[in-house]
């Protein structure tokens, strides 16, 4: 395995901690800072960069130039925006609940950063190495809803409240398919530990074989996305993740064309910027956990570890930008119906498919299970999806339309 970047980083960390051997209290503090500070700084930097990337990408899709005044290719635009946001007046509505109005952005940002800590960035590179990291990730992620609702409710604004309500309805619906599609992976790996889930996606016998070709493919072919239930699960997970992260086409809580900006309506200045940052960082976090669960985490050929994780995570984020530039926003009833009537039954069915696949692999070997799984398992999922979409079809209007007010 070539995780040398991870090991060098860990060595560097241990060396730094070792410098403070004589001062135990300082050592603990340094240890904590080493676990948290790089993560915070890197993800905040990534936030700045990705706002630029998103604006450029959207501009490209819409045949515009995008930011191009500050720095080369407008690269310093995030910095300029940050300074602008800092200097703006912070307006708090007169009738608002001052405490909750202030707490809402904080409440949104803290879980977002904690969630990032549960990502296995590399072999042993994890800020919060816990036995049930995946569970903690979803637990922390579910707190986002409360913060968005807090923002919507405390503003004492009808649009804000509508946005908050939409957020609550949306997030509670999409959390179920999100977690259920992750359950299939957890069941297959037999662990809630993020590192073990990554390890279960590497073909260990190939990695140990010493054959270069086998080592190369052993890092790729084990990814859950190449299995039928993993492929389906990844799609369910990603769709639900878009809704959880409030990304388009599920950005109903802040649908600007209907309810101004939803829960963000009464926020200005730096609080608004914090909302934005928290949303982007949750989007990174959920892209990262999708990478861990389905795309093999940090495993990859040649330079396994941190580089591959970053590449995969940002590719998923780029797909989110692409989707934002392509798809129109859903209607509220479509949104709810899609989660409860389509995603949820399929995600439950997927758990069964994954269970059968697991035992088929033990019974008939990996190759037979792979072929049979794609033919039978994916066939079942495909048929179920077709059937469900037919069941969910709204009744088509036949015959002549009657205009009551005209006649």
């Amino acid at each position: 395995m070539n995780n040398f970047i991870d090991y060098k980083l860990i060595e560097l960390g241990q060396w730094t901690v070792g410098l403070f051997n004589d001062y135990p209290v300082v050592q603990i503090l340094v240890h904590l800072l080493l676990a948290t500070l790089p993560l915070t700084l890197v993800f905040m930097g990534a936030f700045g960069f990705s706002t630029w990337l998103e604006r450029k990408g959207l501009a490209r899709i819409q045949n515009r130039l995008g930011p191009n005044r500050v720095g080369i290719f407008g690269l310093l635009q995030p910095l300029a925006d940050g300074i602008k946001m800092l200097l703006k007046e912070d307006i708090v509505p007169d009738r608002s609940d001052k405490l909750f109005h202030f707490l809402a952005p904080v409440m949104l940002m803290v879980p977002a950063f904690i969630a990032v800590g549960f990502l296995p960035l590399g072999d042993g590179l994890m800020a919060l190495p816990m036995d049930s990291a995946i569970l903690f990730f979803f637990a922390v992620g579910s707190l986002n809803t409360i913060a968005v609702f807090m923002a919507g409710w405390s503003s004492r604004n009808k649009y804000s409240l509508l946005g908050g309500m939409r957020a609550v309805a949306q997030m509670i619906s999409y959390e179920i398919p999100l977690v259920l599609s992750a359950v299939a992976v957890i069941m297959f790996s037999g662990s809630l530990n993020a590192q073990e889930i990554v390890a279960s996606q590497q073909i260990q016998s190939w990695l140990a074989s010493g054959n270069l070709v086998k080592e190369f493919f052993g890092q790729i072919l084990g990814w859950h996305i190449f299995k039928p239930w993993g492929f389906a699960g990844f799609i369910f997970f990603f769709v639900a993740a878009l809704a959880e992260a409030n990304r388009s086409p599920f950005d109903l809580p802040e649908a600007d064309s209907e309810i101004i900006a939803g829960h963000l309506t009464e926020y200005s200045g730096f609080k608004y910027a914090i909302f934005f940052m928290a949303e982007y960082i949750s989007a990174f976090a959920i892209a990262g956990i999708a990478t861990t669960l389905f795309l093999g985490g940090w495993s990859g050929p040649v330079i396994a570890g941190l580089p591959w994780f970053i590449i995969k995570m940002f590719s998923l984020f780029a797909v989110m930008i692409w989707i934002r530039g392509t798809l129109p926003r859903l209607r509220v009833d479509q949104l709810m119906g899609y989660a409860w009537k389509f995603l949820l039954p399929l995600a439950i069915l997927n758990i069964f498919v994954a269970g059968f696949y697991y035992f088929a692999e033990q019974q008939f070997g990996s190759l037979a299970a792979f072929i049979g799984g794609w033919v039978i398992g994916f066939g079942i999922l495909q048929t179920a999806a077709k059937g469900l979409s037919r069941l969910n079809k709204s009744p088509t209007l036949d015959g002549k339309r009657v205009y009551q007010l005209v006649e």
Binding site: L135, A139, V140, I146, V168
Partner: protein, 173 residues
Amino acid sequence: MVDFLFYLFALITVLGAGAVVLSRNPVNAAMLLIVSFMGTASLFVTLGAYFLAAVQVAVYAGAVIVLFLFIIMLLNVDAAEQFRPDYVTFAGGLIAAALMILGTLKLFERGENFTLLTLQELDPVGVSTQSFGMELFTTYMLPFQVAGILLLIAMLGVVFISKRDKETRKDAA
């Protein structure tokens, strides 16, 4: 250190719970309930029961409170603010509190050395997810199933009530 953390989180839990009861605004009460739940989750963490802590946050702070908020929003907030408990509610609350205190006393009675130190020395059931699952599905299977049926009853109750509402509305129309 552990002692200090215990008192800190216990204080947060109790203060949060007290504020829930004393708060007049139902939305504020629901938000404060999160504080109390977070305190409980932190207590689980100090005991090394990470799985329980995660479940506590995900289920209670994440889902239950959100549903509470949803229901509060669907009902009228102003009406809830003017709500004054009548005798039946009061008696119900009293009985529930008495049962709670009785249960706690019984718990203390059973474990004489029920202190922080011995709890950590005990076989930590909740430490790993696996041992927790094993215990839940073997030793405590019956309570687990009973709890499941209890939830099912609640669900059936909701369906029943909402159905009946629909019928009366149809009659009224």
